[in-house]
């Protein structure tokens, strides 16, 4: 609703009661998102540390040997500690060997292969994560990475096996098809938001479902899958459309990784150096001010989701043309949702997203070996991811765990009691006027009407 929403902001006195509780929650959400971008790197690193500790507890709890040694803890406490140490060392060293460098591998190529596997896993995560990050920076919660990846994969894969073209041209065309597929899917949400004010969270989630069933339907259609078999699997992508291998046989690392690097640089340039990126960030910070400054907010809103979708689509395309080579119902796995984790972890910055993509790719790659060698359930990897997100989403929690001072430098305890006091007085003085309360405490100019005060209430508010 950014179009009509911004016009509403223009009218002299919008009434506070017109703000639905939804809009308020949304405003808070996007404020929280922006705060995320401002927290320090230390918190990110500590979040990973906490996740590893939580993971360690779970690994121990799930391990039968540890359980057994715990039952005679008092008779032989060393046994428990030794077993625990042993189990943890094995599990985490397997995670490391599976993700970075395997010193137990039979050959040199095998030793460095894990790192390349990490890179392979990270390609779609980085590309889709960049798309999500652009959305975050522009104040939009694009949950549709999954659908955009599926559409990218669906189009790129189809172009990859249905056409026959010379090598270079074919792969470029398939990649372009993937970008287009994702961009259209993101664009639907973007245009709906820009034109009608539809809530992008709901629209993108629904588009995810549509994409999943669209792919399932396509895989029943012989004209699409071109296999002659009844199985819901497509043909394999022609060799001319496959992303070329970077390290030769024995490795799966493909040119998609170069694309991911280029995309990271491109997104950095877009956000930090280009006018368009400035507009994106401006509508994320304060759409009202952006509009006043002459930015076409609806157009920028739609463009954000088109570009975000295009990046996710490119991720899907690289996934199919680089590693999977064929389409099946679950081709996207949980990539679209992991990409949100990647963007959050990377603080919505291009380089951060790139590194976060590598980290999550590493967890995926390492989890495979950890599971096979030590019998540690693969679910631990999912728990690690989840804990990381939880910690990143709650920086005060991490600070509390590590007794760090608050970002503004005040010690922790004093801050807490101080906040309690202000909260108490705030509750009595202005319980009836939450919007005005925000306005008076906010650092922005208080001359503007309250609805424009909280930066993205007007863009985030669902259509009425």
């Amino acid at each position: 609703m950014s179009a009509s929403g911004s016009q509403q902001g223009m009218t002299p006195a919008p009434k506070p009661e017109q703000q639905s509780p939804w809009a308020e929650a949304e405003g808070r959400l996007s404020r929280a998102l922006r705060e995320l971008g401002q927290t320090s790197w230390v918190v990110t690193v500590l979040a990973v540390v906490v996740a590893l500790v939580v993971g360690a507890v779970l690994i121990l709890a799930a391990n039968r040997d540890v359980q057994a040694s715990l039952s005679y803890f008092f008779a032989q406490p060393t046994a428990f500690l030794e077993t625990s140490f042993q189990v943890l060392r094995e599990a985490y060293s397997a995670l490391f060997r599976g993700a970075v460098f395997d010193w137990q591998a039979p050959s040199a190529a095998r030793s460095i292969r894990p790192l390349t596997e990490t890179m392979v896993y990270s390609v779609p995560l980085i590309l889709a994560g960049l798309g999500i990050a652009i959305g975050f920076r522009s104040g939009m919660l694009n949950i549709g990475g999954q659908g955009q990846i599926i559409l990218g994969a669906t189009s790129a894969g189809f172009l990859g096996y249905a056409l026959s073209l010379p090598t270079g041209l074919h792969v470029l065309l398939a990649l372009a098809g993937g970008i287009l597929g994702g961009a259209i899917w993101g664009g639907i949400a973007g245009v709906l938001k820009a034109r009608t004010g539809a809530n992008e969270v709901i629209v993108t989630i629904m588009l995810n479902n549509i994409a999943i069933y669209l792919l399932a339907w396509l895989l029943q259609q012989q004209w699409y899958k071109q296999t002659g078999s009844n199985q819901p699997l497509s043909s394999s992508v022609d060799e001319s459309a496959q992303l070329f291998s970077l390290l030769g046989s024995g490795f799966r690392l493909h040119a998609g990784f170069l694309i991911a690097i280029l995309a990271t640089i491109g997104v950095w340039w877009l956000l930090e150096r280009s006018t368009l990126g400035f507009e994106f960030r401006a509508i994320g910070e304060n759409p009202e001010a952006a509009r006043t400054a002459g930015i076409n907010v609806p157009k920028a809103t739609a463009l954000v989701l088109v570009i975000a979708g295009g990046l996710a689509g490119l991720g899907g395309a690289a996934h199919v043309l680089g590693t999977e080579y064929r389409l099946a119902g679950g081709v996207a796995g949980t990539l679209g949702f992991d990409a949100i984790t990647v963007a959050l972890l990377g603080r919505s910055k291009p380089l951060g997203t790139f590194l976060a993509g590598l980290l999550l790719g590493g967890l995926r790659a390492g989890g495979v070996l950890m599971q096979a060698q030590t019998g540690t359930p693969i679910d631990i990897v999912l728990v690690l991811q989840a804990v990381i997100v939880l910690m990143i989403a709650a920086p005060p929690l991490v600070r509390a765990i590590f007794f760090l001072p608050h970002a503004d430098g005040r010690p922790r305890i004093r801050r807490r009691s101080a906040r309690r006091k202000t909260e108490a007085s705030a509750a009595t003085s202005s319980a009836r006027q939450p919007e005005l309360q925000t306005a008076s405490t906010s650092k922005a100019s208080s001359a503007e009407p309250p609805s424009a005060e909280s930066p993205s209430t007007s863009t985030q508010e669902p259509g009425k």
């Binding site: 046994a79 199985q231 990539l335 096979a372 019998g375 693969i378």
Partner: protein, 361 residues
């Protein structure tokens, strides 16, 4: 502030008490491992598809086969659950790196990963459950064995029984996702109903699956029981009184719906009388002995007898079958059991062929 310390103290005390209670056992003796003597030097490894080992369906049956081999043959093992399709290849590759003697892949989605690994690693044996390998013309690999099941044969018998036992003259079936390993059940079931009508001049109708047009009712996945119940209700409203869900865990959703409508269920894969909570409404089950075939393959391997010959579970080799009627033993008329016995023999002798485009081929 005070309160939080108090809470913390309580938690600590509880934790300490729990530790104390659970930690007073005796340490085990250092020696005394008797079972190790008969262990064989063989490692069997299993890679699941996205369903995971607790899917109450084919992943679980395969895992039970592996567990049986661990217990009875003393083989070493490793297993990997895949959480996404992109993990199939790496999981298989990691298993090869773990020096497995045989690697099983569960489900047609692992076909490509297993085939490529088999080409690259002639020393390791590979077995694919529920699908054949897609070799190029004339290509053959010594170390790749498909384990497939012609469940249509057993479902044919189930369809006949269902038609014979139906009081309303309408029977039903529905599936999880429209894939051959599901629809082969439904094709066989449809043929069985058809056969009953031919032999007895009957007019029993089948709802939920049209074999001719290959269209029917599907719940959308193998896990959502609410959706499973929904589909079952739809078929019940069309008067069906015996329904066969072919949907793994989602099929359990049919239980409460059928119980409420006093209708009967035909279970698939395992004997539903034992594996579900709805034993008293399970008329019979279409059995698919995946665990048995996994065990048999491992056993052959330990005796150096692995061959690339495909294993096709049929009525003849009891790789598929019809479970006992259990609670309905007395209700099924003897002429029906006799007819079933005769049909079974006809199928084994090849006099009756179950034709289905979804059958393993």
């Amino acid at each position: 502030m005070k309160r939080s310390f108090k809470t913390r103290g309580t938690i600590a005390a509880t934790a300490a008490a729990a530790l104390l209670l659970s930690s007073c056992g005796e340490a085990p003796e250092e020696d005394g491992e008797g079972a190790a003597a008969e262990e064989v030097d063989y490692k069997a490894c299993l890679v699941s598809d996205e369903g995971g080992w607790d899917d109450r369906s084919f992943n679980q049956s395969a895992f039970e086969g592996l567990e049986m081999a661990i217990d009875e043959l003393g083989v070493d093992s490793a297993d990997a659950q895949s959480t996404a399709e992109s993990e199939y290849g790496p999981n298989v590759d990691t298993m090869v790196q773990q020096n497995c003697d045989v690697v099983f892949g569960v489900g047609f989605l692992l076909e490509e990963g297993l085939r490529e690994a088999a080409e690259a690693n002639p020393e390791t044996d590979f077995a694919l459950i529920d699908s054949y390998f897609n070799f190029e013309e004339g290509e053959e690999l010594e170390n790749a064995k498909p384990l497939v099941f012609n469940t249509g044969e057993a479902a044919y018998l189930a369809g006949y029984v269902a038609a014979a036992m139906s009081e309303t003259g309408v029977v039903g079936t529905w599936g999880g996702i429209q894939i051959p390993s599901v629809t082969v059940f439904m094709d066989g079931y449809a043929d069985g109903v058809e056969r009953y009508n031919e032999d007895n001049d009957g007019d029993v109708e089948l709802v939920g699956w049209d074999k001719e047009g290959q269209t029917g009712s599907f719940s959308g996945d193998f896990s959502d029981q609410t959706q499973g119940r929904e589909v079952t209700e739809q078929l019940l409203s069309q008067d069906a009184d015996i329904i066969m869900p072919v949907a793994g865990n989602a099929g359990v959703g049919a239980g409460p719906a059928l119980e409420a409508a006093e209708a009967k269920m035909i279970w698939v894969d395992s004997d539903g009388y034992e594996s579900t909570d709805y034993g008293d409404i399970v008329l019979t089950s279409v059995l698919k002995e995946i665990g048995q075939s996994v065990y048999a393959t491992i056993e052959e391997g330990t005796q150096d007898g692995f061959s690339n010959e495909s294993y096709v579970g049929t009525l003849e080799n009891e790789g598929v079958g019809l479970a006992p009627f259990h609670d309905f033993e007395d209700e099924v008329p003897s002429e029906v059991t006799e007819a079933i016995e005769q049909l079974r023999q006809e199928i084994i002798d090849g006099d009756t062929a179950i034709e289905s485009e979804n059958a393993p081929s």
